[in-house]
């Protein structure tokens, strides 16, 4: 018969081995890369591993009276159990099981592409989004309504506006000769770049936040439209070695347009984005009536109807649509409750109880 002491030693050894095994798996996962690591840690074999750790932590709290008596240690171990349970609950496999047996859970993760002025309720895989835009570009007859999707939400998300904010005076004009970078200059009015006697000299004449072109009386007129929209551009003067000069417009969003002459010289206007904004409106209810209004940006998602909506990508050419990353909030509260307990536990155990007792940090062997 196993004595209590032997049992405790066994539990400690198994615990230590599981910690070492998880360390080794983390290192292997890091070498595999994000996607393969995700597959590894969500594989059926690893489910047993996660369950084993959770059971051992719970068992440890029952076997070791010390873990129950010391508030810090109890919080640390209970916190770890919650993080593991929450992690398993929020996983892809858990969502699948909940859908199959209870028909309750939606997809754990997907994307939503919404054009300005339109609303959408379909969550798609990123591959499905890519196919949809490829089809739209090729003008195929496939209607966006016919596109396959992962799930439909019970409410619609409307995009009122998408915009990008750039750092001021931080733009650059990159210059390439035969596709090789030969130099760069600050995108400021009056800046010049001289490439030597055999190549043209470049000078920036004007910067545009929202470049527009109008034809009036048969004449072309360019302007910086202060209204809605973004089309950053530069007006540059190119002075050729033979004395000829010409004006060119370099667009941040259309790098293919910026080829000069016979294609030997290319320019790219690069701006440093400060933030991306999507003005969203939730259309909930039977009549699709307007509901919550929220501007989402990087680090500021929208939480609605059991999902988080994140700014993920956008229309790089004309800024007419946004792509939102959509994540289910299933299990999230459990994970964060675990984080809170874990954090409270480590600080109490290693810092605060010693400060209160007037001892140095961790003077005992615990």
């Amino acid at each position: 018969m196993i004595t209590n002491i032997k049992m405790k030693k066994l539990v400690m050894w198994v615990g230590l081995l599981l910690i070492v095994a998880l360390t080794a798996l983390s290192i292997v996962g890091a070498f595999l890369g994000t996607e393969r690591a995700k597959e590894l840690f969500n594989s059926p074999a690893l489910v047993f591993f996660w369950v084993a750790i959770t059971v051992l932590l719970t068992g440890g709290m029952l076997v070791f009276g010390r873990l129950r008596q010391k508030a810090g240690l109890l919080l640390i171990h209970a916190g770890c159990v919650l993080v593991l349970v929450g992690g398993m609950y929020s996983s892809q496999a858990s969502h699948q099981l909940l859908r199959e047996y209870f028909g309750s859970a939606g997809v754990p993760h997907g994307y939503m592409a919404i054009f300005e002025g339109q609303s959408e309720n379909r969550i798609m895989a990123i591959e499905q989004i890519n196919v949809m835009f490829r089809n739209l570009k090729k003008q195929r007859r496939t209607s966006p309504d016919d596109q396959p999707y992962l799930q439909k939400l019970p409410f619609r998300m409307r995009l009122n506006d998408f915009r990008i904010e750039y750092y001021e005076n931080r733009g650059k004009l990159l210059i390439y000769a035969q596709k090789k970078p030969i130099g760069q200059m600050k995108a400021l009015v009056g800046e010049e770049f001289d490439m030597g006697p055999e190549l043209p000299r470049i000078r920036i004449l004007r910067t545009f936040r929202n470049f527009r072109i109008n034809i009036k009386n048969g004449k072309r007129q360019v302007s910086d439209d202060i209204g809605k929209g973004e089309n950053p551009a530069l007006e540059v003067e190119i002075s050729r070695p033979d004395g000829k000069t010409e004006k060119k417009y370099i667009f941040e969003r259309f790098p293919d347009f910026n080829v000069l002459g016979d294609g030997q010289l290319q320019m790219r206007y690069v701006l440093m984005p400060k933030d991306y904004f999507s003005d969203l409106e939730v259309e909930d209810g039977e009549d699709g009536q307007a509901g919550t209004l929220k501007t989402i940006e990087v680090n500021k998602p929208l939480h609605y109807g059991g999902y988080y909506f994140y700014q993920s990508d956008y229309d790089h050419e004309s800024g007419q649509y946004t792509i939102l990353s959509v994540r289910s909030d299933t299990g999230l509260i459990v994970v964060f409750a675990g984080y809170f307990l874990l954090c409270a536990g480590v600080f109490w155990h290693f810092w605060f109880r010693n400060i209160i007792a007037g001892r140095a940090c961790g003077p005992r062997n615990d």
């Binding site: 030693k9 400690m12 050894w13 615990g15 230590l16 910690i19 070492v20 998880l22 360390t23 983390s26 290192i27 996962g29 890091a30 070498f31 890369g33 994000t34 690591a37 995700k38 840690f41 992690g87 993760h109 750092y167 931080r170 440093m272 984005p273 400060k274 933030d275 991306y276 940006e297 990087v298 680090n299 500021k300 998602p301 988080y308 994140y310 993920s312 990353s325 959509v326 994540r327 999230l332 994970v335 964060f336 984080y339 874990l342 954090c343 480590v346 600080f347 290693f350 810092w351 140095a360 940090c361 961790g362 003077p363 062997n365 615990d366």
Partner: protein, 264 residues
């Protein structure tokens, strides 16, 4: 490797020189001079840190240059705190740690100021990086204590100081909660920025591995106490090795592509 002929660079070199001079003074038993020069070195790093902050317009913890500069500044307050509150000594080694931490900032990493990309404009940016930076400096000091334990098991000469094994333990007890907080802040930030509180990114996995090594250290030490003091020290050194990989290799090597690439 390049010398930085800038005000920023000169401040870093001056701080390194002060730390070096302080080390020499202490070795030559000029304790008062050594302490004074060590304090001067610290003041120079504070000036360098503030200068950088003003220059870039945000908390200087965005890239490896700024992180190492910050760590070089933290070593002196840690030395003082460790001796007074934890009775952990070996200040000359701390001075050398200061030089080692400032060296990459002075000679290796690019100091060109960078704007914060959208993902880094978050209220968690400064706390997440700051707690990790402080934790890493503490763990570096813990590692020195562990190395001393392996090479000089007799312990320090000063009677008011604890022995090296106990010193390693105390330093790890001080740093471990900060590493935990850093991991949780990172996860919270991941949830806000990418929609994933855990993304299995190489940097995340190496951070977890570092945390787990110290967790294993605590469990091993709980099981055997100080019976296997050398093994306790080896756990502590292994933790530092994992931290160095997390901080340097993951950011600098193309082997580990991931969401934290901008940290280079």
């Amino acid at each position: 490797m390049a010398i930085k002929w800038t005000i920023q660079g000169c401040l870093i070199y001056a701080a390194m020189a002060a730390y070096g001079l302080a080390f020499v003074s202490i070795v030559w038993r000029r304790h008062k001079t050594g302490t004074l020069v060590y304090q001067t070195g610290f003041m120079i790093t504070v000036v360098a840190f503030i200068y950088r902050w003003v220059h870039v317009g945000h908390v200087p913890m965005q890239n490896l240059f700024e992180v190492f500069l910050t760590m070089g500044m933290l070593i002196y307050p840690l030395s003082v705190f460790s001796r007074r509150r934890l009775r952990v000594g070996v200040e000359p080694a701390d001075m050398l740690i200061g030089i080692v931490l400032l060296f990459p900032a002075g000679f290796v990493f690019d100091a060109a100021p960078q704007q914060l990309p959208p993902a880094l404009q978050c209220f968690l940016f400064a706390p997440h990086v700051a707690v990790y930076v402080i934790a890493y400096v503490i763990m570096a000091k813990a590692t020195v204590q562990a190395i001393y334990q392996l090479s000089r098991p007799a312990g320090p000469k000063g009677t008011h100081l604890v022995d090296y094994e106990q010193a390693t333990y105390r330093m790890i007890c001080l740093g471990f909660p900060l590493m935990t907080l850093g991991l949780i802040f990172g996860s919270w930030w991941g949830h806000l920025a990418w929609g994933d509180y855990w993304g299995w990114d190489p940097k995340e996995l190496w951070s977890l591995a570092s945390w787990l090594v110290y967790l294993a250290y605590f469990h091993f030490r709980y099981m055997y106490g100080r019976k296997h003091a050398r093994l306790n020290s080896i756990w502590a050194i292994a933790g530092m090795a994992a931290i160095m990989i997390t901080l340097l290799w993951v950011n600098l090597s193309r082997l580990f592509g991931g969401l934290h690439n901008y940290a280079t």
